[in-house]
């Protein structure tokens, strides 16, 4: 068994899991954080995207043992009890999701972008979301939502 202790959404968590457990399985099966989705499980679809040490990565492509001591942020770490995160609110306002399966991954990718680049161009947003496959809504409304969330996070617009 592999013992891991890591920070998830600001809270220290520990688990003992078989060595072949992926970070995604660790999050979903050990900690019941099921917001990160299991889609392709080979790093193509982005539904499992989480932020590790500040960077968006595919949780299906890391082993649990590799995240021992690291800092992980999942979709569950964005909203507070009072309020959704501005990116989540923008996705709601712009109706950027239909089935929503890709949503957590897309929103985490958008957060990864805006954390590093508060004023991205449309091309930069497309690049940031190119590792997240959406097969029902399409990307136009997502890009609009990310642009709107960026304006709110920059303080140029009041939150809805």
């Amino acid at each position: 068994m592999t013992d891991v202790t890591l920070t998830i959404n600001g809270e220290e968590r520990s688990a003992s899991v078989p060595p072949e457990t992926s970070l995604l399985r660790l999050l979903r099966d050990e900690f019941f954080l099921t917001g990160s989705k299991l889609g392709c499980d080979v790093g193509d679809c982005g539904a499992c995207t989480v932020i590790v040490d500040g960077l968006p990565v595919n949780a299906c492509l890391m082993l649990a043992g590799q995240v021992d001591g690291r800092d992980v942020v999942t979709i569950e770490g964005l909203a507070t009890l009072e309020d959704l995160h501005p990116i989540q609110k923008a996705f709601e306002e712009f109706a950027s999701l239909q089935c929503g399966f890709c949503g957590p991954g897309v929103i985490i990718s958008a957060k990864g972008l805006l954390d590093r680049n508060p004023d991205p161009t449309k091309e930069e947003i497309k690049d940031a979301l190119s590792g997240n496959l959406c097969r029902c809504t399409g990307y136009t409304k997502m890009i609009e939502a990310v642009q709107d969330a960026a304006r709110i996070l920059r303080g140029e617009k009041e939150a809805a």
């Binding site: 592999t2 078989p18 060595p19 072949e20 992926s22 499980d41 080979v42 790093g43 193509d44 982005g46 995207t49 960077l55 968006p56 990565v57 595919n58 299906c60 492509l61 890391m62 082993l63 043992g65 590799q66 021992d68 990718s109 990864g112 972008l113 690049d127 940031a128 190119s130 590792g131 997240n132």
Partner: protein, 289 residues
């Protein structure tokens, strides 16, 4: 995933010890973007996985007496963000940017891309055109070699089970050498190259090709140099006609195959076009953009 044991190395030396101790049925895990997929789909069934992502001595980008040293664990994102590489080697930045997507570029490493050694790798051509060398370390010490020697065949390098790739070095003579990389895939994001190509050159006296190096990917069992095209250009005047002729000769240097992504015939056309365009772009870069 099948069951295996997991151990983590804090340095290259420790990785080599662990690999020797647990070998030969061991596998090195770095960014994991290829290895995790292989582990899940049982191409690999190792007894032990040696994680090297905590080996600090395999990280870092620096210019030293030998040239530009890029640690094997440097990620594609770190290459794209490095100020020195952005200034001096836009071809490397462009090549890194064409790999996968943000998530896989944050995980995937330069060393991993070279060691996995798929013919369509996007890190290979620009480095080979810049005559990059690699350092391999094992129980008996280290050895240096060019990429042509390091790549053996599809998914096969010279690495033994208890050896690791330490770093990639672009020799000092090539620091700032104008170079260009182009990839043709079927989509902008997350696509493998049907063909990729890179050229590096200096402009010699009388506007001639000097030390021109051309490299091609996805058109042979490994990334290759286009020797006939290089020989033709050396010392000749830099003209669009000569670039086009080099493109035609580069097709002869390659052995493209038919597969589900493209026909060999389509790949031959791409080789000629991409070779010519990378030469043209490298020349423009030499002229100051």
């Amino acid at each position: 995933m099948r069951a295996f044991d997991f151990v983590s190395a804090e340095s290259a030396d420790q990785a080599i010890s662990l690999l020797s101790e647990h070998g030969p049925n061991v596998i090195v895990l770095a960014g994991g973007t290829d290895i995790l997929v292989d582990l899940k789909h049982a191409k690999h069934d190792p007894d032990v996985v040696v994680d090297i992502t905590r080996a600090e001595d395999l990280k870092g980008i620096e210019v030293n007496d030998g040239g530009l040293r890029i640690g094997a664990l440097v990620t594609h994102t770190q290459i794209m963000d490095d100020p020195y590489i952005r200034e001096n080697f836009p071809a490397l930045v462009h090549a890194a940017h064409t790999i996968g997507a943000v998530q896989t570029r944050n995980l995937g490493t330069l060393g991993g891309n070279l060691v996995t050694c798929v013919p369509s790798m996007d890190s290979g051509p620009a480095l080979m055109a810049l005559e990059a060398e690699v350092t391999v370390a094992g129980p008996d010490g280290t050895r240096r070699m060019g990429l042509e020697e390091f790549f053996v065949g599809p998914r096969k390098t010279v690495l033994e089970h208890n050896e690791v790739l330490l770093d990639v070095i672009i020799p000092r003579k090539n620091l700032g050498k104008p170079a260009d990389f182009l990839k043709f895939g079927l989509r902008k994001g997350q696509a493998l190259a049907l063909v990729n190509a890179a050229s590096a050159l200096w402009v010699g006296e009388g506007n001639t090709f000097k030390d021109v190096k051309i490299s091609l990917g996805a058109v042979a069992p490994t990334v290759i140099r286009a020797a006939a095209a290089e020989d033709f250009l050396e010392g000749r005047e830099i003209t669009p006609e000569n670039m086009a002729e080099a493109g035609r000769l580069a097709v002869e240097d390659a052995k493209p195959i038919d597969d589900f992504r493209a026909s060999a015939s389509y790949r031959r056309d791409l080789i000629a076009v991409l070779t010519k365009r990378t030469l043209d772009n490298a020349y423009r870069l030499a002229q100051g953009g």
